[in-house]
Amino acid sequence: MKSKNTHAEKNNKKSTSRRNFLKKGLLAGAGTVLGAGVVGSFDAFAEGGDSIKVLGPDGKILTVDKSHLKEIGARTEAQMQTEGRTGIPGRRWIKVIDLGKCRNARMCVAACQHAHQLKPEQYHVNVLRMDREGETAPFFMPKPCQHCDDPPCTKVCPVDATFKRQDGLVLIDNERCIGCRFCIAACPYSARIFNWTEPRDAEKYKDVEYDVELNVPQKKGTVSKCLFSADLLREEKMPYCVTACPNGVYWFGDENENAVTNGTTKETVNFKKLLKDNAAYVLLPELGTKPRVYYLPEKNRLFPYKYNGSTELKKEHNS
C-alpha cells in the first residue's frame, strides 16, 4: 500500500481545519496498525471479522483485522513536511554521472524544469561546457546539486529551511525560507537558484498543496534547488533527470545496497566497482564538502557534439 502523490491528485487543497486535525491524528505511515484511541478517515471502520496479511515494520508478516487498517490517500502537507525532513529510512542515495556519454541533449534539464515548475533560465540541473587547462578537449558536464555529506549551504541557514536528511539528500523548505540567500553564497557548486519574481505558472499552481520533496509550488522570494527528485524516490522511482536521459549518462542508486541503475538502459551494476573501474572522481574535493555525486571521466566521448558554440541563454521572456 504505497502512497500516491502526484500533482493532479494533490490539486484539491484541503480545508485548514481538516489539515490541522490530520496533523494531530494521522501522522502514521503506510501499513501501520492503529491503536484503539486513534480516530481517522479510514473507510472500513465498521467492517469486522475480515483479516488481512501485512508486512510489519520488523519485516514479519502480520495478520490483522481489516478494520484496523487505514486507507492512505494523498499525504497531507504536515505529513509531507515530517517525512520530507527525515528522509527515507535505510537509504543513502547516490548518483554517478558518466561524462563520456553526455552529448548535451539537455533532456535532463527539460524534464527537471517541467517537474519542478522552473523557468528556462532556472536550473536544478544544468549542463555545462567545461574547458580544462591546456590542450585538453572540452566536454559537457551535467551539474545537479552534489548533495554533499558536509554541506556548506545547510550550515549557514539561519532558520533550518535547508537541511540534510538521513538518506543523504539536501532539501529546501520554501515554506520556511526567509530569502536571505546565504546558502547561495555558500554553495561552491552554484547549485542553488532563487525565485526573484513570481515562479512559472504561479496562477496554475496557486492551490496546489506544498510538497517539500518536490519543492512545488515554487514561491517568490525563496531559494530552490535540486532534490534528487525525492518525491519519486519515495515511490521507488528514479529521478526525473535520470530517466529522461537518452544517452545513458546517469546512474542512480543506494549506497547501502552498493548498486546503481542506469536511467536509460535500466542496467544495474555494482556501485563501487563502477567507480573503481572507471576512475571516478568528485567535483572540487579539496573543499571538503564530500559530494554524493560521482563523475566518470570524459573518456571515449562520442564526437562531434551537436553544439552551436553558445553558452548563453537567449532571453525568451522578461523576468
Partner: protein, 453 residues
C-alpha cells in the same frame, strides 16, 4: 602629554549652556532639510513597496550575483557605526581628553547607522514577512543569527552610552527649554531619571558609563568580525580569507573616522560651535584618521598582494578583474582616491584644517562605500564552475534605480536619526565641558537653581 583645552580663555557656565542649547531652538534651514530627507525616504518607501509586490527581481541581482548593493551597504553601515566604540570607549577609557566635544557625535552616528544596518538586512530579504522565523526556528550555527544578536546588542549598548552621559545635561534643558513644546519637555522629564546633581549621582553615572564603555568594546569587535565572517566563512574566491575580521574592523574605523570629520565640520558651522570644535580637534582627529588609514592600507596590501603573488587560477580571474578588468576603474579610484591620497595629504598639518578635512572626509567615506561594493560583487561573478546557459544579465551586475532608491532611503534615514537627536539634545555634554573649564558641581547646581527662579 596632557592637553588642556581653552586654557587661556575660560568660558562661563552660562555661556556654555547658552551656546549648546541655542541650536536646539534655532530652526532656520531645519524644515527644508527634514523635507529633503523625507522626500528621499518617501522615494525609497515607494521603491520598497514595488519590490515587495514584484519580488527582488526589480533589483539587478540574479542567481550568481545574489548579494548586491544592499549587502554592500549593510557592511558600510555597520562599518560607519563602529566609530562610536573607538572614540567614546577606547579613547575615553585610556583618558584622551580632546574627545569630550566629539564623543557624543560619534555615538549619534553609531546609533543612526547601526539601526539602519538592521533594516537594510530586511530590505535584502526575499520574504521579509517571515523575519520572525529567525526567532521561531533560529539556528545558533548560522553566522546570520550571530550577526543579528550582536547588532541588536550593539544598538542597545550604544543607546545606553548615548543616554547615560546625557542625564546630567537634562537639568540644563529643563531650565532653558521652557519655551519649547510640551512633548519635548516630557521627554526631558523622563530622561532625567530623577537626577538632582548630587555628587553621588555624578559618580554613579561616570561608573556606569565606564562599565558600558568596557562592554561595548568586545561587542563592537564582534559585530564587525561576524559581518566579515558572513563572507569569510564561505568557500568563495576573494572571500575565503583569514584576515577578513581585522581587515573589516580597521576599514570600519577609517569609514567612521572620516564620517566623524564630516559631522564635526557640519555641526561646528551649522550649530555655531567653532569655539568648542576647534582646529585643534580637527588636527587631532585628522592624525587619528591617518593612523587608522595606514593600518587599513597594511591590511589591503595583505589582502590583495599575497594572493596576487601566488596567482591561483581562480584568484587570477578575480584579481585581474579588479586590477585591470571591468572593476579596475572603480578599484583604483577607491584605493587611490579613498585611501592612499588621503593618507599622503593628511600627513600635512595644513590638510588637517577644517575645510580640507571635510573634503578628504567625503572622499574617504565615498571610497569606503564603493570598497564594500568591490568586496561583495566581483567575488560572486567568479564562482568555481562557469556561468552558462543563463541570460546575459546574470553574468553582470549594476544596481537598478530601485536598489539605489532603497539604499538612499537608508542613508537618509540614518542622517534623519542623527538630525533628530541633534535637535532634541545638545551635541556635546554640557556638564563635562563645564568640568573641563573648572566649574564645580556646586556651581552647576547653583546655576540650575537660579534659572529656575
Amino acid at each position: 602629554m596632557s592637553e588642556v583645552i581653552h586654557k587661556d580663555n575660560k568660558k562661563s557656565l552660562s555661556k556654555i549652556v547658552d551656546d549648546l542649547t541655542k541650536p536646539l531652538k534655532r530652526h532656520y534651514g531645519f524644515t527644508p532639510w527634514i523635507l529633503f530627507l523625507t522626500a528621499i525616504m518617501a522615494l525609497g518607501i515607494w521603491a520598497y513597496i514595488i519590490q515587495i509586490r514584484d519580488g527582488l527581481g526589480v533589483t539587478a541581482m540574479r542567481d550568481y550575483v545574489s548579494w548586491g548593493l544592499y549587502i554592500a551597504s549593510f557592511i558600510f553601515f555597520i562599518a560607519t557605526a563602529l566609530i562610536g566604540m573607538l572614540i567614546s570607549a577606547v579613547l575615553g577609557l585610556i583618558g584622551i581628553k580632546w574627545i569630550t566635544p566629539i564623543a557624543r557625535i560619534a555615538e549619534m552616528i553609531a546609533i543612526g547607522f547601526a539601526m539602519w544596518a538592521g533594516l537594510i538586512i530586511i530590505f535584502d530579504m526575499g520574504r521579509p514577512d517571515r523575519v520572525l522565523n529567525i526567532f521561531l526556528h533560529g539556528r545558533i550555527q548560522s553566522p546570520i543569527v550571530w550577526d543579528i544578536t550582536v547588532v541588536t546588542t550593539y544598538v542597545a549598548i550604544s543607546l545606553i552610552l548615548y543616554l547615560l552621559p546625557l542625564i546630567p545635561d537634562i537639568p540644563f534643558l529643563k531650565k532653558t527649554m521652557t519655551d519649547q513644546p510640551k512633548w519635548k519637555q516630557k521627554i526631558y522629564a523622563v530622561l532625567s531619571f530623577g537626577f538632582k546633581g548630587h555628587t553621588e549621582q555624578y559618580k554613579l553615572i561616570k561608573r556606569l558609563t565606564r562599565i558600558m564603555a568596557i562592554l561595548i568594546i568586545p561587542v563592537a569587535l564582534a559585530i564587525h568580525t561576524v559581518t566579515s565572517w558572513l563572507f569569510a566563512l564561505t568557500l568563495r574566491v576573494g572571500w575565503d580569507s583569514t584576515i577578513f575580521g581585522p581587515y573589516y574592523v580597521t576599514g570600519a574605523f577609517v569609514t567612521g573616522g572620516a564620517a566623524v570629520l564630516i559631522a564635526m565640520f557640519i555641526f561646528s558651522r551649522d550649530f555655531r560651535l567653532k569655539e568648542y570644535i576647534t582646529d585643534f580637534h580637527f588636527d587631532k582627529m585628522g592624525k587619528l584618521l591617518v593612523l587608522l588609514m595606514l593600518v587599513y592600507l597594511y591590511f589591503n596590501i595583505n589582502e590583495y598582494l599575497v594572493p596576487a603573488y601566488k596567482m591561483k587560477t581562480l584568484d587570477e580571474h578575480h584579481l585581474f578583474g579588479l586590477f585591470t578588468g571591468k572593476f579596475a576603474l572603480m578599484f583604483w579610484t577607491v584605493q587611490l582616491g579613498g585611501l592612499i591620497i588621503p593618507i599622503i595629504l593628511m600627513l600635512f598639518k595644513k590638510m588637517r584644517r577644517p575645510t580640507p578635512s571635510l573634503i578628504i572626509g567625503i572622499a574617504v567615506v565615498t571610497g569606503a562605500f564603493f570598497k564594500r561594493y568591490l568586496i561583495t560583487i566581483p567575488t560572486l561573478l567568479h564562482p568555481h564552475l562557469p556561468i552558462q546557459n543563463v541570460p546575459a544579465e546574470f553574468s553582470t551586475y549594476w544596481p537598478t534605480a530601485f536598489e539605489w532608491s532603497i539604499t538612499m532611503m537608508a542613508v537618509a534615514g540614518a542622517v534623519l536619526i542623527i538630525t533628530i537627536l541633534a535637535k532634541l539634545f545638545p551635541i556635546m555634554p554640557i556638564w563635562e565641558i563645564a568640568h573641563e573649564e573648572g566649574i564645580t558641581n556646586e556651581e552647576i547646581n547653583k546655576f540650575v537653581e537660579e534659572k529656575n527662579n
